[in-house]
Amino acid sequence: MTEPRSLRVVIAEDATLFREGLVRLLADRGHRVVAAVADADALLAAVAEHDPDVAVADIRMPPTHTDEGLRAAIELRRDHPRTGVLMLSQYIETKYAARLLAGNAAGVGYLLKDRVADVAEFADALARVAGGGTALDPEVVSQLVRASSHADGLAALTPRERDVLALMAEGRSNAGIAAALVVSAGVVEKHVASILIKLGLPPSEADNRRVLAVLRYLGS
């Protein structure tokens, strides 16, 4: 698990109820919400002003209620690469995930709003994104796996290895995977090594780089 540290956070969410809930949740966890806004333009302005560790943004916001949050996020990735961007949405859309992950998946997250209900996991995901890691919803990962052109490579994995791969793609560390599967870290390490060999990916100690390799593999 990532060590808890106080993060400076900007929130963009047009539903007042949910926005206020988020502010409270983050404050509860010891983070500092420097701005909580309701649309994409205000998000861009707030990030430019506060230079936060991470921005949490809804995808569907006024005025068109389609993907303005996503477009703002892509702009943030370009102009403020040090700020992590965690997208929250009621739906997971394959194309949106692809656009968000295009180029560089470091410091990016895409979760269903439901995941906020599992407070500890959400806090962990936020910390990962703030630290330059990745946090993808299990649904994003399952869509990536299904849509992947490497069906043969994936078929070579055992069911357990496939579970580990999915958790890796979500952006979790070895310790996080071990906790989720209720196994020891050593077992996870063995699975990870085996997966990387079967898929022909370079072994890597750093969690982040390994995640990126897996995502590139699935997305290519």
Partner: protein
């Protein structure tokens, strides 16, 4: 056939407002209580109103336009005549080969027959053109705006083109108008004559003394003045007053004659040059149906938006709060309370999933950014691998996108349930005015709309916008379903 040529300059050279504006309608006249003075004033003014001048102008132009149709029988009769004359001239002098003319006549006869047949077959199209000219003239000069008939159906190839022409009801009705209108054309000629000759007759007393001032005793031929009852022979100066009176009477009668014939012509045009009652009804139904289809798509979109902004966000907030409560309870709390909170937390999360699926079934939100985005998620969520290609250069109407999306979803679900396929291919292509969706799989085939309600339901849905659904699914496979939709509902 172009009418803009003759009509434009005429409209531009609209008679200056010599009369005191538009005359009152019949109702106003009646309201005047039949006051003789008012009636007289109106009768005297009538020839000089803008309306009368426009109607007279209409009559003047309608005469040659209406008589155009006579070119048709002349052509029908004249063609064989001309050919027979040519043939007779072509008979070579005696002594030359006799087989030549014998061979020539059937050929020429064939040519004539072909030309006549072609002319007859083209009648609807020619009549449509002439009808349009009449309609435009009436719109310009009489303010009688008649909607045109629906365009002639497009046939494929020469045979289809000819078939569409021959079956063109609106074209034949226009031809009927041109024929029935002939007596009205004579009336129009009369109205124009009333005005022109009436005006001429008025001038007799003024020029008579200038030109007829011969010494007494000189015998001159009488001058004739034209009236509807024949020529009036004027031999003396007092006689010119009779011509003047006849002219005044004709000029006063001209507006009413023009009004009567133009009214008759309008009535004929409305009946025969309009879209026709059935075609109008079809057009109305098409329009209202398109509105209904678009409305229902918009309603579903609004419903999804309301769910998204209302119930879904509330439930997500409840789940978040329960999650926080669960953490705060910690290990020390009463196990019964913990269990209750856990159950509520899990229940809220489950309800969120249900609600999300429901909302997606009502209207997938990604559809607002286009078919490609929405179908990508659909394809990625499928149990069978899907190969998706979307090439839609111009976005269709929202209602059409919705129908296409749900067709793809239903067909994909069908393939997953029944086909035992290893792979599904979804293609979407925008071609001109249609949107094509094709879902094919490598499964065992045998899809039959008569057995499953899914396919027949799809067919009904597609037909609400005049779309088309084609199923090719032989037993043993593969299955290919092609949906064609118009780009607009």
């Amino acid at each position: 056939m172009s009418t803009t040529g003759p009509v434009n300059p005429l409209a531009a050279g609209r008679p200056p407002g010599r009369g005191p504006g538009e005359p009152p309608g019949p109702a106003e006249l009646r309201r005047a209580g039949g006051s003789l003075a008012v009636l007289t004033r109106e009768a005297v003014r009538a020839p000089f109103t803008v309306r009368t001048l426009r109607e007279l102008l209409f009559c003047v132009i309608e005469v040659p336009l209406g008589l155009c149709v006579l070119a048709f029988p002349i052509a029908l009769a004249g063609l064989p005549l001309a050919v027979s004359l040519t043939t007779r001239g072509a008979i070579p002098p005696a002594g030359s080969s006799r087989t030549h003319p014998a061979g020539l006549i059937p050929v020429l006869g064939g040519v004539v027959l072909f030309a006549l047949l072609a002319l007859l077959l083209l009648t609807p199209r020619i009549a449509r053109g002439l009808g349009a000219a009449h309609r435009r003239l009436a719109a310009r000069l009489l303010g009688e705006r008649i909607a045109g008939p629906p365009p002639i159906r497009r046939g494929r190839g020469a045979v289809g083109w000819l078939g569409a022409t021959v079956r063109d009801g609106a074209g034949w009705r226009a031809a009927a108008y041109l024929l029935v209108k002939l007596p009205v054309t004579v009336g129009e000629l009369y109205a124009a004559f009333f005005a022109a000759a009436g005006l001429a007759n008025l001038t007799y007393p003024f020029w008579w003394p200038l030109f007829r001032n011969h010494p007494p005793g000189v015998r001159l031929h009488p001058v004739s003045a034209l009236t509807p009852f024949g020529a009036l022979h004027v031999a003396t100066f007092p006689g010119t007053f009779a011509a003047f009176a006849a002219g005044a009477a004709m000029l006063l009668a001209a507006p009413w004659a023009a009004r009567a014939v133009t009214s008759a012509d309008r009535w004929l045009m409305r009946g025969l040059l309009g879209p026709g009652r059935l075609a109008q009804r079809v057009a109305d139904l098409e329009q209202t149906r398109a509105i209904a289809v678009e409305d229902s798509a918009a309603l579903l979109r609004r419903l999804e938006r309301d769910l998204h902004d209302g119930a879904q966000i509330r439930l997500a907030t409840i789940a978040m709060n329960l999650g926080m409560a669960r953490e705060k309870l910690g290990e020390t709390a009463d196990p019964a309370v913990r269990e209750l909170v856990d159950t509520a937390h899990q229940g809220a999360k489950d309800a969120l999933i249900d609600l999300r699926n429901l909302a997606r079934g009502i209207h997938p939100a990604a559809l607002d950014s286009g078919l490609a985005d929405a179908l990508a998620t659909l394809a990625a969520s499928s149990a069978i691998p899907v190969e998706l290609t979307v090439a839609v250069p111009q976005r269709p109407a929202p209602a059409i996108e919705t129908i296409a999306y749900f067709c793809a979803a239903e067909l994909l679900a069908n393939a997953a349930k029944h086909s035992y396929a290893n792979k599904v291919v979804i293609e979407v292509a925008g071609r001109g005015r249609t949107l094509m969706l094709r879902v094919s799989d490598d499964g065992r085939g045998g899809a039959d709309p008569a057995r499953g309600s899914g396919l027949s339901g799809l067919m009904q849905r597609v037909r609400t916008v005049d779309g088309d659904l084609e199923i090719a699914s032989p037993p043993g496979g593969p299955t290919q379903v092609t949906v064609q939709l118009p780009r607009r509902a």
